[in-house]
Symmetry: C2
Subunit: 494 residues, 2 copies
């Protein structure tokens, strides 16, 4: 087969790249560091968007749109923020090209230099808080609960499709509140929305927790995160929600009249997930045959392949298939019928396995005689022959099972990969095996930096929940021996 993938065991990273390209999800663009998201990949992203957008609206948020460009001076207004985001960004300095005097193409017109450079947004806190300043006078104007779906640019030197690209697509929520408590609750609420989406739609178990100071969003008071575990034992930060305190309100002088007639700075949150989730989805479930997609995100959930010896037989099969398709569609199941005769059934089977279609149906001459159809599920690659009568209920049920089974499989794998280390030696040994390690840490950035330098592992979060028996009990730092309040979660990560 032409589209064979590098096996995961041989080279995980190559397997990932092969899969993204061969399953028609995305490819590298002619512009360094940027990607083209191909129709099949984009269809998955659209399903993610729909599910997320519905959840945002159900929790009271509205969509809006803010400018792509940020004046350079805005970035400098929040001291930590500029450190985090001004470094690697796309800078617009001119607004016109002109014909090259020597007639070869176009050159930048030096006369068209901007007075102040514009930055292509790496994230929109600054431009949004400069806007909110005009929207907020009193507590009656609060809360503001906005989200935007947008593209952002961070000039990355080493890029990988979906996981780290110069331009990527995301959503960013930006909310403004009267009180510390309300903003803090909002940040937690949206983390829970992300976790619910990850677990129930992506079938991807996640660990919720709070970031260490080092790993915090530039400008945040606290960053909450959901962390997933990929099949190679590396962690992937899949979504973050930030409690921004009054930092951006102070930077952009956004005050409001409180209920008791005083003036205070507005409290803020921001939260986002991106096309990086596509990478997480791929690396959580897929195998050496290709993608494995949760039914809730598959562009089509069922594919039907006819196996025929003559055109006459094909039309008999097609007639039966049409009945089945109508019944599946009536149940809200998306289905594709591939009756092209340019490719053989075997080629089609491999192709739809590569593309992760959750259920494949095949119907041949014998099925026609017996009133049966062959059902193959992508997650386990097992086949069954079932009666056509009532097959739509069988499939609806099967899709539900697949959705749950791949979650359970990922959950079980993760369970074996959450370990404990009580000494730095043990930690160094176990980190080589991959997975999450719960260990004690003295809470200082110095120790964190030392661990990162020596082991390439970072603190993914201080988890909210308990995963082993004594996570939440105090102990002593594995490196310095100083006291530690609870274990924290380490991993090497994407």
């Amino acid at each position: 087969m032409a589209k064979e993938l590098t096996p995961r065991s041989e080279n995980y990273s190559q397997w990932y790249n092969d899969l993204v390209v061969k399953a028609d999800l995305a490819e590298n663009a002619a512009v360094r560091g940027c990607m083209v998201i191909k129709p099949y990949g984009y269809a998955i992203w659209e399903k993610m968007q729909n599910e997320l957008d519905r959840r945002f609206k159900e929790t009271g948020h509205q969509n809006a749109y803010f400018p792509l460009f940020i004046p350079k001076s805005f970035l400098s207004k929040e001291a930590d923020h500029v450190e985090g985001f001004a470094k690697e960004c796309a800078v617009v300095t001119h607004y016109r090209l002109k014909t090259n005097p020597d007639g070869t193409g176009v050159v930048v017109d030096p006369e068209a230099k901007l007075e102040e450079e514009l930055i292509v947004r790496p994230t929109s806190e600054t431009i949004i808080w400069s806007t909110y300043k005009n929207w907020i006078q009193s507590y009656r104007d609060l809360p503001i609960l906005c989200n935007q779906w947008a593209n952002v640019v961070r000039w990355e030197m080493r890029t990988r499709l979906f996981l780290r690209t110069a331009e990527f697509l995301w959503q960013e929520g930006h909310t403004a509140h009267e009180t510390y408590q309300e903003a803090e609750e909002e940040a937690q609420k949206m983390l829970n929305v992300y976790a619910d989406f990850a677990e129930n739609i992506m079938s991807m178990p996640v660990i919720k927790g709070v970031k260490s100071e080092t790993e915090r969003f530039a400008g945040a008071v606290d960053t909450y995160t959901i962390e997933a575990l990929m099949q190679d034992g590396k962690a992937l930060q899949s979504g973050t929600s930030h409690f921004l305190g009054q930092n951006f309100a102070k930077a952009f002088d956004v005050t409001f009249m409180t209920r008791d007639g005083k003036t205070d700075y507005v409290w803020a949150t921001s939260w986002g997930v991106s096309t990086r989730l596509m990478g997480a989805l791929i690396m959580t479930h897929s195998d050496d045959n290709g993608l494995v997609l949760p039914p809730k995100l598959a562009p089509f959930q069922v594919v039907i392949v006819p196996i025929f010896k003559s055109q006459e037989q094909l039309s008999q099969i097609s007639e039966k298939v049409q009945e089945i398709m109508d019944k599946l569609k009536a149940k809200g199941i998306s289905v594709k019928y591939d009756d092209s005769d340019a490719k053989k059934p075997g080629w089609k089977f491999a192709e739809y396995e590569l593309k992760g279609v959750p259920v494949r149906l095949a119907m041949g001459g014998r099925d026609l005689e017996n009133g049966t159809i062959e059902v193959c599920r992508r997650d386990t690659l097992t086949k069954e022959t079932v009666n056509i009568e009532g097959v739509e209920n069988y499939i609806a049920d099967l899709l539900d099972k697949i959705q749950k089974n791949i979650y359970q499989k990922a959950f079980d794998y993760r369970k074996t990969m959450i370990k404990k280390a009580d000494s730095y030696e043990e930690f160094k040994e176990k980190i080589e095996e991959g997975g999450f390690i719960l260990a004690h840490w003295d809470g200082t950035s110095e120790t964190e930096a030392k661990i990162k330098e020596e082991t390439k592992a970072t603190i993914r979060c201080v988890p909210f929940d308990t995963y082993l028996d004594d996570d939440k009990e105090p102990g002593t730092c594995m490196v310095t021996g100083k006291p530690s309040k609870s274990r924290v979660l380490f991993a090497r990560s994407y």
Copy 2:
């Protein structure tokens, strides 16, 4: 009332600006020429997107995503295209900022200069055709039917909210075909999709036709357009679909193996509509009291305002309202209940008129006694008192009537504004009154330019349909007296 608009008769342009801002649709951003689309405006845009996206998918198109940045050299590859688009664009020259040596903020790092400048896409033909080159080898790879929803940037010096902004949102379809005929049919098909959307969803009558060479898209063989007429008698180009011939295939060397084993360049189309449609929508229907929205695009179609003298009465009204809301929602009608006591009913009435909510219901003490409710329609501002029994059917019917009525009103207005001119003198006189003028033209760019310079009118299109009795009959050019095949459509325009 605080939010009074400048009347249209006094200053149409100011009325428009007032309305966009006061109805919370959009506002100017801190970045020159860019806009912030506010939640209420964005909700209308989202409804437009959903309707268009559904139509694109029904006609076999898929969404994808291509990069924001275009290498400067790509623009130069199609000779006409570079003339049209390279002139006013945002140019990225650097990829890093650094702390200013004097400690004040950040400056562009001169070391981080790009080898080749990147242009923020003004339209994506070039980057997409450089990509399609790798996707197309044979006729079996065709057609490619892609669309993307994206932001684009054209550095405009004089900007107006929605109508002309440096950054705007749009969709751009880019298709690749085996034959001239197939591409040509695709371009026409998408023009019809736009016209159907404009007329049946936006309630905005449009004239379909083909552009003159001067007004053609830079790089197209033919540009098809839908032209609408605003209330001030100016035309607004509302959507265009381009038959690109083999121009971009030649520029990017995109060839394919034909069915008979030869090699040929691929045939192309592109087509787009943008947030400019928001401006068209506003200027087609709205009045001195504010927005008038077609029910199919209203963020909420019905608002209910209680008129109460006591909290007890309010709860009685609310109980009845809840029943009505349930029935409306069951019929798929979106409804908002505004029972806040911070504002008086009169203020609310004005506010929802300003926001163009198609139907307003009001319920007071007497209605409660009589089992009635007051229904006010936004398009005519007429009121009726109707029985609560079956009110949901009454409203469903009314929304349908409003959708059709505002179309008819705009259609009737346009009808009075399509005129004929048989001499240049007559043309000059009539163009001052606004509206479309059908006149004979000799087909040359010189005459077209002279007319534009002397009257500010441009050829909007050569219409496909007949609007007066003799549109399609030959005649002589009103300016030069040379022969003309048919009348063409002139107007001053946005």
